[in-house]
């Protein structure tokens, strides 16, 4: 298999973009990524998206986007893995280029979520869970995560306030990311007083949805010409699955698919958690940040919140996470999120992350994208060369 480089990145702001449709958002990100790569075409296009059928009444999205960006005729396909769709599309593109089926691929994650009423969007998001045995009982996706968080606090003795550093760090970093959904720093008091959604999860534990798109251009590493900025290679790419329903897990407090995919990606990269200098994790809810840190080897079991309380998760800390705002404050346009994470790691490895740049020219960054409450988990490790 060939080594792959990420040659170009592009993204739109995450917001309520009432003036922009699904195709317009995807198109902006694709054209920005192609321009960044210095290319005007690709051999294939992979779209990561979760909800276009339910929220936009549009499927066959890949052909739509491909035509819109002026690449009519190019092979294209949509990949769906709930909130993990973005990284799943990346992985599909990687496999195609690595196998030699294509010499270049565009990966774009896109989601258009604000044309619909809140309850309808909430019901659509619940399709990431088990429809017959979770959603049919009236569970929202937030509620499923709340069940996990409540039990976690019970078993390991954490208080709600112990999770505050995850949200505070994310909001502080997003302030310096012009593409982020939220630009309002929060205090521990704000965190404690936020409106309850499904206890113990309040509004500041949960990531905001939004409209947005992000894109990448993939090429074989040997095709990259030096142009003065570090080339970013894909050093590890792996995915694993678990049951859709939380109640079917052997241990609902352990992300086994995160552990499995991270272990595989570490093996491919010849690295371990101690070598990772940036970790863009899937902090859709603060509890998920804790569980990811544990499953990927950054914290002992039940000790995820400790890293935040010890001040280790900021851009200058031992395990910088959510360096551009994370899902919590950059925003979570569900099917696009996994691609935003990769765009942000590339920014960090190129030294283009501005005020939240991780110091010391980092060379290894990891991104982890989760579909459902832990059912599909994809881990990617990028390396600056």
């Amino acid at each position: 298999m060939r080594k792959i480089a990420i040659l170009g990145i592009g993204q739109t702001a995450i917001a309520e973009q009432w003036d922009k449709s699904l195709r317009v958002l995807a198109g902006e990100a694709v054209l920005a990524a192609l321009a960044d790569a210095g290319r005007d075409r690709a051999d294939g296009l992979f779209v990561g998206n979760m909800l276009s059928g339910l929220l936009n009444r549009q499927e066959n999205l890949a052909a739509l986007v491909t035509d819109w960006v002026g690449l009519r005729g190019t092979e294209a396909v949509k990949v769906e893995a709930a909130c993990g769709s973005g990284a799943a599309a990346l992985r599909a593109g990687l496999m195609a280029v690595a196998a030699g089926e294509m010499d270049s691929a565009v990966v774009v994650g896109v989601e258009k979520m604000t044309d619909t009423a809140g309850a309808q969007t909430t019901a659509a998001l619940a399709t990431a869970a088990d429809a017959d045995w979770e959603a049919a009982q009236g569970l929202s996706f937030v509620a499923i995560n709340a069940l996990v968080m409540r039990r976690y606090m019970h078993e390991y003795g954490w208080q709600h306030a112990d999770f505050a550093p995850f949200s505070i760090n994310a909001h502080a970093n997003a302030l310096h990311n012009p593409y982020a959904r939220l630009h309002d720093p929060i205090t521990p008091q704000d965190y404690q007083r936020a409106r309850m959604v499904a206890d113990p999860i309040n509004l500041l534990d949960a990531s905001p949805i939004g409209d947005g798109a992000a894109a990448l251009v993939l090429v074989p590493a040997e095709h990259v010409r030096r142009n003065g900025r570090p080339a970013v290679h894909v050093a590890g790419s792996a995915a694993a699955t678990d049951s859709l329903a939380v109640h079917d897990r052997r241990d609902p407090l352990w992300l086994s698919a995160a552990y499995d995919s991270a272990r595989k990606a570490y093996g491919q990269a010849g690295a371990g958690p101690g070598d990772i200098q940036i970790f863009e994790l899937h902090d859709a809810f603060s509890i998920m940040a804790a569980l990811s840190l544990e499953a990927c080897g950054f914290a002992a079991r039940g000790q995820g919140p400790r890293l935040g309380l010890d001040g280790e998760i900021g851009p200058g800390g031992r395990v910088p996470i959510a360096t551009r705002g994370g899902l919590k404050a950059r925003g979570h346009p569900v099917g696009a999120t996994g691609v935003y994470q990769i765009v942000e790691i590339v920014q960090q490895l190129r030294g283009e992350a501005g005020a939240t740049q991780v110091p010391g020219q980092p060379r290894l960054g990891m991104a982890q994208n989760i579909g459902g409450s832990g059912a599909t988990i994809l881990t990617h490790i990028l390396k600056a060369n």
Binding site: A119, T122, A123, Q137, G138, L147, R150, R151, D199, H247
Partner: protein, 140 residues
């Protein structure tokens, strides 16, 4: 919501009928035909008692479409006494008096109303099992 979709799950929704694995004897709910423990074929029906305890719970203030009329309502993961866990709403309970480990039992209740077609969907919920002592305290 589709009528046939609820009809084919009625044994589970009304009766908590699952399966038992003939190879490793593990009890399975909801039925899945392939044992999650040993991956053998498991199609032997098994009637669950409906008794269990609360593994975790939360109260929903922002419900999904179709459940707006119920909010706020409390849902739980219930660990059945035969082993498997099930996700369900709690009923006949004060939202502020639920706790992890609380004993509960299954009852059949209305899950939701399909507003457009007027269809009522019934299924299992769980309610607290009060000991005689706590029942007396309530009466007093």
């Amino acid at each position: 919501m589709e009528i046939s979709r609820h009809w084919r799950l009625q044994q589970q929704r009304y009766g908590l009928v699952g399966e038992v694995c003939p190879h490793c004897d593990i009890k399975i709910f909801p039925p899945r035909d392939v044992c999650p423990n040993c991956a053998g074929e498991a199609k032997t029906l098994f009637q669950f008692s409906g008794r269990g305890e609360v593994y975790s719970y939360t109260t929903i203030y922002e419900p999904p479409e179709g459940f707006e009329g119920n909010a706020p309502y409390t849902v739980a993961i219930v660990k059945l006494e035969e082993g498997p866990m099930v996700t369900a709403q709690l009923t006949d309970v004060d939202n502020n008096r639920v706790s992890i480990g609380m004993p509960v039992e299954m009852v059949t209740r209305k899950l939701r109303e399909d507003g457009k077609r007027g269809m009522l969907i019934y299924g299992y919920k769980f309610r607290p099992v009060w000991s005689h002592q706590s029942a007396n305290q309530l009466a007093a």
